[in-house]
Each structure stands twice: as structure tokens, then as C-alpha cells.
């Protein structure tokens, strides 16, 4: 069995989860607490990957990320980085596609922190950053883990978008879901089964951890 597609998927999952943790946090904060009217428009737009067919997203991302597209041209001219059919390209696409999952987890976590805890911290002389590190983050662990697990799981299971942006370059963009598809196409069901089994064995502990943490948090807040 070829393990390289797993390694590509794993790296992709780590990159996307790490980047989205940073990118999605301010957005989740905005969506959780801002009362401005335009926020709901932005939130709905960024949630589109949850409901759009991956091929629709993949098609438009390919247009944007190709060397003649606005984003692809910018990256090529500025950093000498080609996005279409490259690993950075599937990381970019993975970020767009998994963004709503990270935002959803973080937003739920943020909304679960009572506003009075933040206010108590302010009246105890602490600024916003210190309050964020010492009060908000420790009290939204379940939301953080939920966002990270769902983002990682969604990214390593991603198929349509990755195929359209990255193709199937072995060791570069050929992730495990594409490898399964190719094995099924070539009627190699035994290997397809093995690949799928490994994915299930990786996904299940993640979901178990997530649910256990949510149960513990819910008991703690009672």
C-alpha cells in the first residue's frame, strides 16, 4: 500500500487547520459579537462552502488561482509561487473550503463564554489581550477542539475542490480521497478498502475526543 497520499493529506490537514485557527478567530469574534448589519452578509458569504457543490467552488477557485487569475497572478508575481496544481494551491483551496467549519466551532465556543467573565477581567485591571489568553481561550476549549477537529477531518476528506485545483500529482497533490477514487476506478477494491479503513480509524478517535470534551464542558458548566 502506498502511504504517500496519507502523508500529503496529513500535511494538508495540518497546514489548513493551523492557518485557519489564526484566520478564523477574528472572524468568529466578529460574527459572535458584532451588531453591525453587514456582518451577517459576510458570514453568509463565507459559509457558502458548506452548501455549494465542491465542483462549483473548485471551478471558481481554479479561475482565481490559475496563473492568469487575480490571486494566482499575484502569488506568482510577488512570491514566485504557482498555486494551480501545486501543494500551496490545495492548501489555499482547503482554507477556503474548510473556513466555515472552523468559524462555526470557534463561534460556538466564544458564545459559550459568559460576557460577565470578560467584564470581570476588565474590572480586575486586565486588558483585552490578557483577557483573551487567560479567560476566553481556557473557557472555550470545546469550541476550539471542535473547530480544529472538524476542520482537520473535513480537509483530509476533501475531494472535489482538491481534485480541481491540484489534480492528482503523486507526492504533491494526490491526497488519500483521490487515491481511493483512483483505486475504485481501476477496480482495486481491496486497496480502496484499506485506504478507507485507515481514514475511519483516524477520524473516529478525533470525533470521540470531541464528544468527550463537549460532555465534560457541559457537566462543568452545570
Amino acid at each position: 500500500m502506498d502511504w504517500v497520499p496519507f502523508w500529503v493529506s496529513f500535511q494538508l490537514g495540518l497546514w489548513v487547520t493551523g492557518l485557519l485557527l489564526v484566520i478564523a478567530f477574528p472572524l468568529a469574534w466578529l460574527f459572535a459579537f458584532s451588531k453591525r448589519g453587514w456582518v451577517v452578509w459576510l458570514e453568509s458569504f463565507l459559509s457558502l462552502p458548506m452548501v455549494l457543490a465542491p465542483t462549483v467552488m473548485g471551478f471558481y477557485l481554479l479561475l482565481f488561482l490559475s496563473p492568469n487569475g487575480p490571486v494566482g497572478k499575484f502569488f506568482l508575481d510577488t512570491f514566485g509561487l504557482r498555486l494551480a496544481f501545486s501543494f500551496p494551491g490545495i492548501v489555499f483551496a482547503g482554507c477556503v473550503s474548510s473556513l466555515p467549519f472552523m468559524i462555526a466551532g470557534l463561534k460556538t465556543g466564544l458564545l459559550g463564554v459568559p460576557p460577565s467573565l470578560l467584564e470581570a477581567s476588565y474590572t480586575l485591571g486586565k486588558g483585552k489581550w490578557e483577557t483573551l489568553w487567560r479567560v476566553v481561550l481556557p473557557n472555550m476549549k470545546a469550541g476550539l477542539v471542535s473547530g480544529m477537529v472538524l476542520t482537520f477531518a473535513h480537509t483530509i476528506g476533501e475531494f472535489g475542490v482538491v481534485l480541481m485545483i491540484g489534480g492528482s500529482l503523486p507526492g504533491v497533490t494526490k491526497v488519500v480521497s483521490i487515491a481511493i477514487y483512483e483505486k475504485v476506478e481501476s477496480l482495486d477494491f481491496a486497496t480502496a478498502h484499506l485506504y478507507a479503513l485507515v481514514l475511519i480509524l483516524v477520524a473516529y478517535p478525533g470525533m470521540l475526543l470531541l464528544n468527550q470534551l463537549q460532555r465534560r464542558e457541559s457537566r462543568r458548566s452545570q
Binding site: P114, S116, Y122, T123, L124, G127, R220
Partner: protein
């Protein structure tokens, strides 16, 4: 002395009210503000704490201003020497009783002294979820006092407790306030609570602060 004159629009239920209050709290005294729900008590307390910005007026602590509408001066809560005890206590659930106090100040000795003062020395390493309502209230009080505030604010300090506990904790708050000598403003809808704890009593009704009426 804390002298405030505050104007603030606020909404209670479906109605909009205008808070328009002035009072000078003598140093070391306890001003009790009595008022029904929706009268603006919590809004007033939040303005004093710096958690809400008034529409106009001023808040003066001795010679320095915490808020002055005419100069657009607003000192944020972090910079005011205020201790606030929230109605829901707002204890940090991930920290122990001692951890809650040490969050506000690194002075471990003072933290232990305060826990002793509120009879919680034995519970220093307990988490808030392991405490009773009265113990939570006493932790919140000790935490609010650790930074030696110029002004202590108490939002309905006894209302979440049963009657028996209310009396004993009321006496305890009274004792702690007397020992620390901190200027205090407390708000409550309970006349008994106000009478138990306050040295000066005012009534807040529809945004106005008046001397208390006996038929309240």
C-alpha cells in the same frame, strides 16, 4: 469621595428610559440604591465601573475624573480602581478560589488574608463549581477587594441566596466593608438587603435618584 452626575439612555422591556442621577458618596460609606427591575440600577453600576459609557455628565474620584462628558474623557475599567461583584458572581470557572484572586493580583499573602477574612481559607483550592452560592459570593467579594479598590460596587449581592444565608452573608459583607473601609455602592430591589448593608439609602425610579420613600 466619589461624586457622579450621569445621563444615560437605556431600554428596559419595551420602554426607553433616561437615567439622570447625581450623588456624592462620602469616603468609607455605603450607598444603597433601591429600585425595582428596569429602573436603571445595573446601568448606573456599569457606568460607574466603566463597562458602559454614559451619554453625559461626570464621575469624579477625589480630584481625578473617571469620566467627563464635556471633555470626552473616559477612563476604561482597567484603569479605574473599582471592584465589582456581579449578580452572577462571574468567577472564572477554570481557576480555583485562590486562582481567581491571584488573577487580579500576584500578592499571595493578601489573597490568603482576604480568604481568611471571608472565611474561605479552607476552600482556597476548590473550583467555583464545588462551592455553594454563599461561598461563591464571598469569593467574588474577596476578589473584588484584592486590588484595594477606591470604589466597591455590589450588584444585588444577596438576591440569589436563601433567606437564612442572606442574613449571615449580609452581616459578613457589612463586617468586611467596615474592616476595609472601602467606599461602596450597592444596588438591590430588596429593601431589607439595602437596610442591612447601607449607611446612605436612595431610591432609583424611572431613571431618577431620590431620597427613599417609606411606602416603597
Amino acid at each position: 469621595m466619589i461624586h457622579f452626575y450621569l445621563q444615560k439612555r437605556f431600554v428596559a422591556g419595551q420602554r426607553e428610559f433616561h437615567l439622570d442621577v447625581e450623588y456624592a458618596v462620602t469616603k468609607g460609606s455605603v450607598l444603597g440604591i433601591l429600585g425595582p427591575s428596569g429602573s436603571g440600577k445595573t446601568t448606573l453600576l456599569r457606568c460607574l465601573a466603566g463597562l458602559e459609557r454614559p451619554d453625559g455628565g461626570f464621575i469624579r474620584q477625589d480630584e481625578s475624573f473617571w469620566y467627563d462628558g464635556s471633555r470626552s474623557l473616559f477612563v476604561p475599567p482597567q484603569k479605574r480602581q473599582v471592584g465589582l461583584v456581579f449578580q452572577d458572581y462571574a468567577l472564572f470557572p477554570h481557576l480555583t478560589v485562590l486562582g481567581n484572586l491571584l488573577y487580579a493580583s500576584n500578592d499571595r499573602r493578601r489573597a490568603l488574608e482576604l480568604l481568611d477574612l471571608v472565611h474561605l481559607a479552607d476552600h482556597a483550592h476548590h473550583f467555583p463549581r464545588e462551592l455553594s452560592g454563599g461561598q461563591k459570593q464571598r469569593t467574588a467579594l474577596a476578589r473584588a477587594l484584592i486590588r484595594k479598590p477606591e470604589l466597591l460596587l455590589l450588584d444585588e449581592p444577596l438576591s440569589a441566596l436563601d433567606e437564612e444565608l442572606r442574613d449571615s452573608l449580609g452581616e459578613e459583607i457589612h463586617r468586611v466593608q467596615a474592616q476595609t473601609g472601602v467606599t461602596t455602592v450597592l444596588v438591590s430591589h430588596s429593601r431589607k438587603e439595602i437596610e442591612l448593608l447601607s449607611t446612605e439609602v436612595m431610591e432609583l425610579r424611572e431613571g431618577r435618584l431620590d431620597p427613599v420613600r417609606h411606602d416603597f
